[in-house]
């Protein structure tokens, strides 16, 4: 059977094909057969992992009051994550454009195009969550009760509603703050929404004890978390997952109605926004425009350039801030522990934040370099460029860490001194990792950079955690601190060796300056860099 060109199904198939290609490129460009096999293997592995979880959960009894509050929290978190993903996807469609110009320039009605895009966003959100949630549902149905299959319609209904909300939010932001700022606001809103449950829980934990007690009492009084049998719309997802047919129908119906309404009401506006986004005016330089202070010096110029690029891109600023915010829960957990003194609790947090943020800034200066060929053709030695870029990383790090380190010094000079040393080591290690293993990409996608190399992402997080372990042992004066340090040194030595091997093979990955001596580029990196526009 062939699908009529230009029809909704045809457009949807086109979008799904692009989604699939995106997935296979994440799997290192695997062929369709290989990608299917990898996904099946992952699915099988997740089913095996779900087995003990279901055994443990069934001890509490599925569909009982005991598990309902936990389930409600998980569903709430998942739903907010879905809304955030939909918001990100809708904004990406508007600004990254991809095929939107081509489609909107065709004689196909815009509403049909947007409907297909919305369905595609919904499918990709559902797919990424389904991969994790559906194995649990399947194993639950097999080992516990068929009621677990209620996850399928519940998740689908929620994904449809979340997509509608994501679309509505993106349009609201677009028309409220204007095309030039909407992207940044959407990124910030999405990140806050996505992490709202974690952040909310931490805010709750930070409240004074009497306030927490009164909130808990209010929740008990209103009975929000007590009954699983309530027909309140808010409880529908929990009831659906518990196998309530009526709740499943309501969830699916709500999803279909909200998504259809969003597409009908917002389709035209989305098309208008897409056109407006393409012609968003550029900003003026601001207060410092006009006369400039031409000065010699590579280091000074590179530092100034990086500083300007960072401060003028609020989305980067937001992403860096969120990276810090997401690390705060560790501090809260440690601070709330009766066993750990305040200063001891703050030191590993500062070290982790320093290492993580330094990794991000190093990535920006090396892999997110917008004009790598310009740097590569400059008459400057690669070592000088590396040094200048490292100093460009160090400067914002000093600014970020100055306040917490001063606060720490007021509590304990010894802890502050140790924190400075280990934070500097953490910064240097994640920065060097990014220098020796560049992952070329668009600056705007800083937080998504690890999608290119999940292994390097894990290594970067691992380095930060290893330094945190090391500093904890150092604080208590244990020689065990040397163990994580030795692991860090080994990891960096291996990365450096691989980097040198790549240079020797002539396959330099990014800006020539990073490749000591060769000043060479691989044509692949160039195609990648410029190919994404």
């Amino acid at each position: 059977m062939t699908i009529a060109p230009g029809s909704f199904a045809w457009l949807l198939a086109h979008d799904m094909r692009l989604n699939w290609r995106g997935l296979t490129s994440l799997l290192n460009g695997a062929s369709t057969r290989k990608a299917v096999l990898i996904l099946l293997a992952c699915g099988a592995g997740l089913h095996l992992l779900a087995w003990p979880a279901i055994r443990w959960l069934s001890g509490y009894g599925h569909g009982t009051n005991a598990t309902a509050p936990v389930l409600a929290s998980i569903i709430g978190g998942v739903f907010m994550w879905m809304v955030a993903q939909s918001l990100f996807s809708a904004t990406r469609a508007l600004y990254d454009r991809a095929d939107l110009d081509l489609l909107l320039g065709s004689p196909v009605p815009p509403a049909r195009i947007i409907a297909a895009k919305a369905m595609s966003i919904m499918a990709s959100t559902l797919g990424s969550l389904g991969l994790l949630a559906l194995p649990v549902a399947n194993m639950g149905a097999l080992l516990d009760s068929p009621c677990w299959l209620g996850v399928y319609p519940a998740l689908t209904g929620m994904a449809m509603t979340a997509t509608a909300m994501g679309l509505a939010l993106s349009m609201a932001l677009f028309f409220l703050v204007g095309p030039r700022r909407a992207r940044v606001y959407a990124q910030m809103t999405g990140a806050i929404l996505g992490g709202s449950f974690v952040l909310g829980a931490q805010i709750f934990a930070m409240l004074p004890l009497p306030m927490r007690a009164s909130i808990t009492a209010w929740i008990d009084q209103t009975g929000v978390l007590r009954s699983t049998g309530t027909q309140s719309l808010l409880w529908m997802p929990v009831n659906a997952v518990h196998g309530d047919i009526f709740a499943m129908a309501v969830l699916l119906g709500t999803g279909v109605v909200t998504l259809t309404a969003a597409v009908k009401l917002l389709g035209e506006r989305f098309a208008i926004a897409a056109i407006a986004a393409a012609g968003a005016p550029a900003a003026e330089a601001g207060a410092m425009g006009g006369r400039l202070n031409f000065r010699a010096g590579l280091g000074r110029n590179l530092r100034l350039k990086e500083l300007r690029l960072m401060t003028r891109d609020p989305s980067l600023f937001a992403q860096l801030s969120l990276q810090i915010i997401y690390t705060i829960p560790i501090a809260v957990v440690l601070l709330r522990s009766q066993l750990v003194p305040t200063a001891f609790a703050l030191v590993p947090t500062i070290v982790v934040i320093a290492a993580q943020v330094a990794g991000s800034i190093a990535w920006l200066t090396v892999s997110g370099e917008d004009a790598p060929e310009l740097i590569a053709t400059a008459p400057v030695s690669p070592t000088a460029v590396d040094r200048a870029k490292l100093s460009a990383v160090a400067l914002p790090m000093l600014a970020i860490l100055a306040l917490p380190l001063t606060g720490l010094a007021l509590i304990s000079w010894r802890c502050a001194a140790i924190a400075v040393v280990f934070a500097a080591c953490g910064c240097a290690s994640t920065a060097l990792l990014n220098f020796w293993h560049p992952m070329p990409g668009n600056r705007r996608g800083m937080l998504r950079r690890h999608q290119q190399s999940k292994l390097i992402g894990l290594v970067e997080h691992g380095l930060a955690i290893l330094w945190a372990f090391a500093v904890v042992f150092a604080l208590i004066g244990s020689v065990i601190a040397l163990a994580p340090i030795a692991i860090v040194i080994t990891i960096l030595a291996v990365t450096r060796a691989m980097h040198l091997k790549r240079i020797a093979n002539g396959g330099v990955t990014i800006a020539g300056p990073q490749s000591a001596g060769s000043s060479a580029f691989s044509p692949m990196s160039r195609a990648f860099k410029f190919g994404r526009g």
Partner: protein
């Protein structure tokens, strides 16, 4: 500027501006450039023509220090560009087909940054930046971030960046592709003026009219080799016609080479 370039030209009169000897570059099994011999004299405006994938850009990227040749030597005003890339880069400029810009910087800030990379004396850099902004008609946009610029505007900013350190060898890859006639005219006038002042220019282009009107000499590359070289008259003579256009000459030479290979 003219005086400075003239002095340089006199000093380096014994060396060609660019000399490639048996240069070879492969990407895996694909041979991009094969035994390329090319000499460009100081003060020449040299156009490198060839079909897509012929090896023009790869050749220029090797000269710019962005690719290391597998074999052969590259000399820029007598300096070995592979052994002493820093010295070679100091006197060259490379303008790729896609402008290398920072979206969040203004043209003036971009020029300030590039001048810093090439260690141009601050006072001279400021003067040059003002001149280039004026000549390329970038004045009204000097403090606007590049993110909203058209391709032509971006190309002009990138060109200004390439010229701010008064390079003696300027290499341009398809500099006029995708820009309107008015901007193309500004770019062509600026390049011609640079050659008059003593600079050497090598450009690749698919717009044969540009090569025909601007270049002193034309080289035709196909399958990674220089298949013909000379003035337009000399090239016409090679194909046996005196009134033929460069397009006819180009098609005839590339077809002949394809048959031979």
């Amino acid at each position: 500027m003219t005086a400075a370039l003239s002095l340089v030209s006199n000093r380096d009169a014994s060396h060609p501006a660019l000399q490639l000897t048996s240069v070879r570059k492969t990407f895996g099994p694909k041979i991009a450039v094969e035994r390329m011999d090319l000499t460009v004299q100081p003060g020449e405006f040299y156009a490198l023509l060839g079909p897509n994938g012929a090896g023009k850009t790869t050749t220029l990227r090797m000269v710019a220090g962005l690719l290391r040749p597998d074999a052969g030597t590259i000399r820029i005003f007598g300096t070995d560009a592979v052994k002493d890339p820093i010295a070679a880069k100091r006197i060259t400029a490379w303008l790729p087909d896609e402008p290398m810009l920072y979206d969040k910087l203004t043209p003036l800030e971009y020029l300030e940054f590039v001048a810093g990379l090439w260690s141009v004396t601050p006072a001279i850099a400021e003067k040059k930046a003002a001149e280039l902004i004026d000549v390329l008609d970038l004045g009204p946009h000097r403090n606007t971030r590049c993110e909203g610029f058209s391709r032509g505007m971006k190309q002009k900013v990138a060109l200004a960046g390439a010229l701010i350190h008064d390079p003696r060898l300027i290499m341009l890859d398809e500099p006029l592709t995708g820009i309107d006639a008015a901007i193309a005219r500004q770019v062509k006038d600026l390049l011609t003026a640079r050659v008059r002042d003593g600079a050497t220019i090598i450009l690749t282009t698919h717009i044969l009219e540009v090569a025909e009107r601007l270049a002193n000499r034309i080289g035709i590359v196909n399958h990674g080799r220089l298949v013909a070289e000379g003035t337009l008259t000399e090239l016409r003579a090679m194909t046996g016609g005196s009134n033929t256009t460069l397009e006819d000459v180009f098609l005839s030479l590339t077809a002949r080479e394809a048959l031979a290979s």
